[in-house]
Amino acid sequence: MKKIEAIIKPFRLEEVKNALQEIGVSGMTVTEVKGFGRQKGHTEIYRGAEYVVEFVPKLKMEVTVAADTVPVVVETILTSARTGKIGDGKIFVYDVDEVVRIRTGERGREAL
């Protein structure tokens, strides 16, 4: 099993989520994160002093799926998350040893 971790722009969440549902992804976990990369932060002013907000708000989306479905899931995220502007984010794929559903104790594919 593989975990697909995507760092996306917050306002794309709906689109990505819906796209994943359509291809049958049963679940996912989302985290509020701050990103740092090519997309630079911005400068704010507060009472005469400037300060740079270097980190950009992003969402981290984690989806664990069966290894064979990775390509299609990645493809789906790519198309649904893309705006074409700097800062669209990244997708990381990791290997997952094991998955267990807490409620039932099911393991592997059944647990997803």
């Binding site: 709906e14 509020e32 400068t43 704010e44 992003k58 969402l59």
Partner: protein, 461 residues
């Protein structure tokens, strides 16, 4: 800092400029009131050194009461700011605070320059005042009451303007906002005001001559603000993501309901200056007006809670808050001419109507983030009509007719002028921010600020 340095020289000039204009004006200052007794003395005086007559004391009491009431009405600005910001998103909170602060500030100056004269100056035609600008009447009448009356009226004028900002929240350009709130306080509100209230000072409006009853301004203040809000919201269009193609109405929940609730409490509190204060006289009448105001607000809250409970199967908090305001707006016109029982009915009716009205405007896809159109426009008109229906001297068709005429003329006047105003702004400086600005929030793009920098916000749309 360095890149700022260069830009400070003009400011020094700016200050010098102010001083020069001021100097030029110095004479005015002299003429205006050449010997204001220092308060210490007058305090002594009041202490008994010279013996005042009962009539003089009553006059002083009218000053005290009218000022206290004006202060309470001023405080409503804080209430409006809390309600509007609580009912909208965190990313626009600074912008909303600034709008509420600046509309009162700009409005105060605009009312000084133009508004007061247009509303209360001598009005040959009955359609607008023609003198008394810049508080110049004092030179004429040398009556200090002018200041008390002006103070009470300026806080009313600012209320009309601030109502608009709620309906146009989260997508209006700050510069456009400053312009239209100045115009509303300088022209749109005062001219209509002169029709209904001009005779309170030097004017005499055509509408009041017909016997139009609007004791504290359900129509003059609230409907006028509400209808301006309506046209503003129409011209702007809804916030992004508010109405989906498939016709679904998407809620955009306000970011801080307790803040909105505090705002409603402050407004309720301030309304005790708004309605009873409109006697501008410290006498026995203020008590029943206060009772009526309170009962209508209470009935409005209960009625809208029941209504929302019935419709949505849950007692919706935000709706109950609107219900209080609906009751308050509706009783504003009749508060001095109906019985307490009648006030309960008026509040209750308004409480139900506001719920239906909010649903109605959502259905016709006019996006009003705080419900200003329903609360101030619709319930303002409603209250003005109910003033005839529940008049303590009994219902007469004639009275209802006059009230209806007032309601209609307010709608007509505001629709034409505000409609034109917003159209003009749209074609010139522009009324609405860009999609990107709306998405990121106005705080950053308009002000370069963030309302809650220490809090982890939920970033979605």
């Amino acid at each position: 800092m360095m890149r700022f340095a260069t830009k400070k020289r003009p400011l020094i000039l700016f200050i010098i400029a102010i001083c020069l204009i001021a100097a030029a004006n110095g004479a005015v200052g002299l003429a205006e009131d050449s010997a204001a007794p220092l308060a210490q003395e007058s305090a002594a005086a009041a202490g008994g050194s010279d013996v005042p007559t009962a009539a003089e004391v009553q006059k002083n009491l009218d000053f005290v009461w009218t000022m206290v009431a004006a202060f309470l009405v001023f405080f409503m600005q804080a209430g409006f700011a809390m309600v509007e910001s609580g009912f909208t998103r965190a990313k626009n909170a600074v912008n909303i605070m600034m709008k509420n602060l600046m509309d009162f500030s700009v409005g105060s100056i605009a009312f000084l320059l133009l508004g007061f004269g247009l509303m209360f100056g001598t009005s040959p035609t009955g359609w607008f005042g023609t003198d008394g600008f810049l508080l110049s009447d004092f030179a004429k009448d040398a009556d200090k009451w002018l200041y008390a009356f002006w103070m009470f009226q300026v806080v009313f004028a600012a209320t009309a303007a601030t109502i608009v900002s709620g309906a146009m929240a989260e997508r209006t350009k700050f510069s456009a906002y400053l312009i239209y709130s100045a115009v509303i306080t300088a022209l749109i509100y005062p001219v209509f005001g002169s029709w209904a209230w001009g005779s309170l000072h030097h004017g005499n409006g055509w509408l009041e001559k017909l016997g139009f009853i609007d004791f504290a301004g359900s129509t003059v203040v609230h409907s006028v603000g509400g209808w301006a809000a309506l046209w503003g919201a129409v011209m702007l269009g809804p916030r992004m993501g508010r109405y989906e193609k498939d016709g679904k109405v998407m809620a955009i929940p306000g970011h801080n309901i307790p803040m909105a609730a505090l705002g409603v409490f402050i407004l309720w509190f301030g309304w005790f200056g708004f309605n009873p204060g409109s006697t501008t006289a410290g006498n026995a009448d203020i008590a029943r007006i206060a009772v009526n105001t309170n009962l209508a607000a209470a009935a409005g809250a209960i009625a809208s809670l029941i209504a929302s409970w019935g419709i949505f199967r849950k007692p919706d908090g935000a709706m109950a808050l609107n219900g209080v305001l609906a009751g308050l707006v509706a009783i504003t016109s009749p508060c001095a001419t109906v019985t307490p029982m009648a006030s309960v009915y008026i509040g209750a009716i308004a409480g139900v109507v506001v719920v239906l009205s909010v649903l109605f405007f959502d259905r016709i896809r006019i996006d009003d983030p705080v419900g200003a159109i329903s609360v101030h426009g619709v319930c303002g008109a409603l209250g003005t009509l109910l003033a005839a229906v529940f008049h303590e001297e009994g219902f007469t068709m004639a009275r209802l007719g006059v009230q209806a005429l007032g309601v209609a003329s307010a709608f007509a006047w505001v629709s034409v002028t505000a409609g034109f105003l917003f159209f003009l702004i749209k074609k010139t400086v522009g009324l609405r921010v860009s999609e990107e600005e709306e998405m990121d929030g106005l705080d950053y793009h308009e002000h370069g600020n963030t309302a809650y920098p220490n809090f982890q916000l939920i970033e979605k749309r």
